[in-house]
Amino acid sequence: MTRHFGWPEFLFILSALRWTIALSLIAFFGGGILGVIVAALRTAPSRIAQWSMIAFIELFQGTPVLMQLFVAYYGLSVLLDVNIDPWPAVTIALTLHAAAFLGEIWRGSIEAIPIGQWEAAKTLGLGRIATLRLIILPQALRISMPATVGFLVQLIKSTAIASIIGFVEVTRAGQLMSNVTFQPLTIYPIVAGLYFILCWPLSLLSQHMERRMDIHIGGPQYL
């Protein structure tokens, strides 16, 4: 006997939305903290710091998120010699992924601040970290807001791939319900609609901020 798609099935998918949101927020804030470090090291005077961050960013921007997830999932279970849950693997992979992208976005904004400000801070006796924290980052973060919010949209959509290793977020919940009701025609558009409800307001916000700052052609628009 097959189940029919009704309220209980819809509520199951809807309640899985919290995992999509939780995953997005953890990766965004975790990646944000690491991203500041990545951006700071990427713009540091030390060559070693610069090159290691270039390698880190290149590695995460030049490979598919799905592969990053697989390597984290299988790599962790191999290194720790235990069967690892999808949850920590997904969190680690997406956090590092976000750190690379946010770090690169913020590097661009840090470099957009005129060099004179660094020099002025130096004459006032401020060290590199203090200058970065008090003078540069507050301005750089404001410049980076449209791209940062744009990346959050990208990150929310990326959480869908967690379904591939069996983590039950919205997409996986939709798949499960589709498998028991045989109504993919109803279910997947609903799943897409839920993502749209999450992402569209953020996209509009990003566009609004971009327009207010009068920045024209942006960089690539991440898938």
Binding site: T63, L66, S163, P184, L185, F196, I217, P220, L223
Partner: protein
Amino acid sequence: MPYVFQFGVITDHLPELLYGATLTIELSAASMACGLGVALVGATAQTLGPKPLRWAIRAYIELIRNTPFLVQLFILYFSLPALGIRMRAQDAAILAMSINVGAYATEILRGGIESIPHGQIDAARALALTRFQIFRKIVLPPAIRAVYPALSSQFILLMLASSVVSTISATELTAITNTLQSTTFRAFEFYFVATGMYLVMAIGFRFVLRGLQRLIFGRQPA
């Protein structure tokens, strides 16, 4: 018992992995071409077309950009058969990738078109060029030139996103890696190497697209 890394098994299966990589390149190149076509038509219609058409294109762009590619793929491959529209996994993959990248590319190209100074259009109008002529000869060439770097980055992101089509049983590098790791039980080694292959392809694509830029637009920066 600690895990012992055995990368030797990779060399035995290198031909399969390389075949997977060529399939990924094929899928990506085909979708890039289709996506570029969609972008040209879409951006033209959005600049010159009537209001309802412009709204329809806007809706298409927003719908695609605010939903995951994986879900778009599922709708094409799992939902559409309920309406009697069936296709092979490989075709569904190319179609989904083209529709997806088409939306992003249309938006990028539209941005480039809007960045053309209005004085140029006024000047062209003073020379009695028609609306379509102005668009094709005055607006479009510098717009494409200005957005070329953004388009290239988008195409590379498309190539990376293509790994997801393995979920609908389309064959490419990720799908072949999945099969190999499940028959050899060497998951980490295979995914590690496949990741490296993607990195090489991303760098290769960037190199080729930059070369193409020089070929089309000459050496001076856009």
